[in-house]
């Protein structure tokens, strides 16, 4: 069956098929192009190759089960996807999240946003012939991902943000690691500005190329840096402040012409703003009320002891991902019973904890939000990231 572009093709033009697997394509997407020399006259896009049926999977999973899937919605900024999904569920359940957890979420979101923008600009620069910028951006991204990895345990598929809070408290060397990452990223951003801003080749390939008017951008439902590059000031973090964004000082950078160069510039400036947010949030982050337990019962001994009597002493767990100590939970996780995972040491040593754990994880149990529906959006790396969840 001839496709639309084949039917509409003019006499003296050339049709070119690009993708779905092409070295220059980012992701599996097929574009059919109608060309007049180097000018693209018409195009048709086929996007289904990478669709994984996320919504269909959701129908068969519990609310908690689903969290790892949200990592994969955008693997460069998985934490923002986590935040978006989790906050939608929290909206339905009416959970209040401790302040420290909110700050941690902001920190993680902004780290993800910077790595997202860095990746985007790396690819953009590489495509316009600036391979050095690609390598520099990847370098900066590694510094950020190091911080993320030390706290969440994974570079990309983190599943760190949990319903009610976050999975584990920040690791002990977080401040130093963050400071280093911020410094290194600043240096890289400065380098990129120097390499690209007045670069004739880069300007020729981006200035006034791919211009989008404000009306079209709005009509196409653009959000995020792309919409802001046309001069529309809409950022979900400012328009509908969530978490603690309204308590921090930062600006929304805007473009003027809506061309490729403006989109580059908006992303560059946004990264600077994100660094600002990170620095403020790291200072204002409420201190954890309890120190990590270094000397306590070993988990195996605690389990043994719990067979005879209730364990009264502290149990030493790995401070972050193994189980995150229960004593630190009040700072990072909501206290609603049944809505958050009970601390591991309670699961193993008390019957209440075990029942709680069972009710949370076993099939047929788990979270049951009240009947209804909710829409909640966060500002993702590429724009408004909204989740619409219907509970019956």
């Amino acid at each position: 069956m001839p496709t639309r572009i084949q039917k509409q093709a003019r006499q003296d033009t050339m049709l070119l098929n690009m993708g779905p697997s092409h070295p220059a394509m980012h992701g599996t997407i097929r574009v059919m192009l109608e060309l007049d020399g180097e000018r693209i006259l018409n195009s048709e896009v086929e996007v289904g190759y990478l669709h994984r049926g996320f919504e269909k999977t959701c129908e068969y999973r519990t609310y908690f089960n689903l969290l790892p899937y949200t990592d994969r919605l955008n693997y460069v900024s998985p934490l923002i996807c986590n935040v978006g999904y989790v906050m939608t569920v929290e909206k339905m359940l009416g959970i209040k999240v401790p302040e420290r957890a909110q700050y941690i979420r902001v920190l993680m979101s902004e780290l993800s946003r910077i790595s997202d923008h860095l990746t985007c600009l790396a690819a953009m620069a590489m495509e316009s012939g600036a391979f050095t910028v690609f390598l520099y951006n990847m370098k900066a991204r590694e510094f950020l991902w190091d911080v993320i990895e030390q706290t969440t345990g994974a570079r990309m598929t983190t599943s760190y943000i949990r319903i009610g809070g976050v999975r584990a408290d920040l690791h002990s060397g977080f401040d130093t690691a963050l400071k280093k990452a911020v410094e290194e990223t600043r240096l890289v951003l400065k380098d990129i500005h120097g390499l690209l801003d007045k670069n004739k080749i880069f300007l020729n390939r981006t200035r006034d190329i791919g211009v989008m008017s404000q009306e079209d951008a709005i009509s196409f439902g653009w959000t995020g840096p792309c919409l802001r590059s046309t001069g529309v000031s809409y950022d979900v973090r400012k328009a509908h402040p969530y978490l603690v964004y309204d308590r921090l000082n930062w600006e929304v950078p805007l473009g003027e012409r809506g061309d490729n160069f403006d989109r580059y510039m908006v992303r560059m400036k946004e990264m600077e703003q994100s660094l600002r947010i990170i620095e403020q949030a790291a200072v204002r982050l409420p201190k954890s009320s309890r120190a990590f337990i270094t000397e306590g019962l070993a988990p195996a001994r605690a389990i043994k002891e719990s067979r005879r009597q209730r364990v009264r002493r502290d149990i030493a767990l790995s401070p972050n991902l193994e189980g995150s100590e229960g004593v630190r939970y009040p700072d990072i996780l909501a206290s609603d019973m049944g809505l958050v995972i009970p601390p591991k040491e309670e699961t193993y040593t008390t019957i209440e904890g075990l029942i709680d754990h069972f009710k949370f994880f076993m099939s047929g149990h788990g979270l049951r939000p009240p009947k209804g529906e909710a829409y909640f959006a966060v500002e993702g790396g590429n724009g408004e990231l909204g989740f619409y969840i219907v509970s019956d």
């Binding site: 289904g48 049926g53 919504e55 009509s219 529906e373 829409y375 909204g386």
Partner: protein, 159 residues
């Protein structure tokens, strides 16, 4: 209270088309009659609400209900910084609703997606084809009665 005004305005303007309004969990919702969709959407876009953006357009399948499918539209007003959700029920026997492509350009692909995954037909859509699945795909994968594990490979799998 701006949000009240928009729902009240809708109630005044379209007493027949508007079935129900609510503000569950802070989300403004208007349930409308599907025949009135295009009128109401045009009023919301060009009228005092200035809902210039269509954020999302999707469908929900409620198997067993009398009107099985529910179209859901999320609108956003840049000037008033308000979101609004519009819902319209469709019965399985008459899966047709007006297309919004004349009002918002992104409705084109979103409606193709809903057509592809739910099988809803959009009257007035310029190019209603499947968006994600390929030509010749049987059924509509996001309907609740489509089995999760059903496979329809384009090229037959080896035994």
């Amino acid at each position: 209270m701006e949000e009240k005004t928009i729902l009240e305005l809708l109630r005044e303007q379209f007493p027949a088309g508007l079935k129900e309004t609510s503000a569950l969990l802070g989300d403004e919702v208007a349930v409308i009659d599907k025949e009135a969709l295009l009128q109401i959407a045009a009023f919301l876009k060009n009228g005092p609400g200035e809902f210039t953006m269509l954020l999302d357009l999707t469908c929900v399948d409620y198997p067993g209900d009398e009107s099985r499918f529910e179209m859901v539209y999320h609108l956003f007003s840049l000037t008033r910084n308000r979101r609004l959700r519009i819902k319209a029920r469709l019965s399985e026997g008459d899966l047709r609703i007006a297309s919004l492509t004349s009002l918002w350009k992104n409705a084109n692909w979103l409606e193709r997606e809903v057509y592809d995954l739910f099988g809803v037909h959009f009257d007035g859509h310029p190019d209603l084809r499947r968006l994600l699945m390929y030509d010749g795909f049987e059924g509509h994968p996001l309907r609740k009665d489509y089995p999760l594990r059903r496979e329809q490979p384009l090229i037959p799998l080896k035994e």
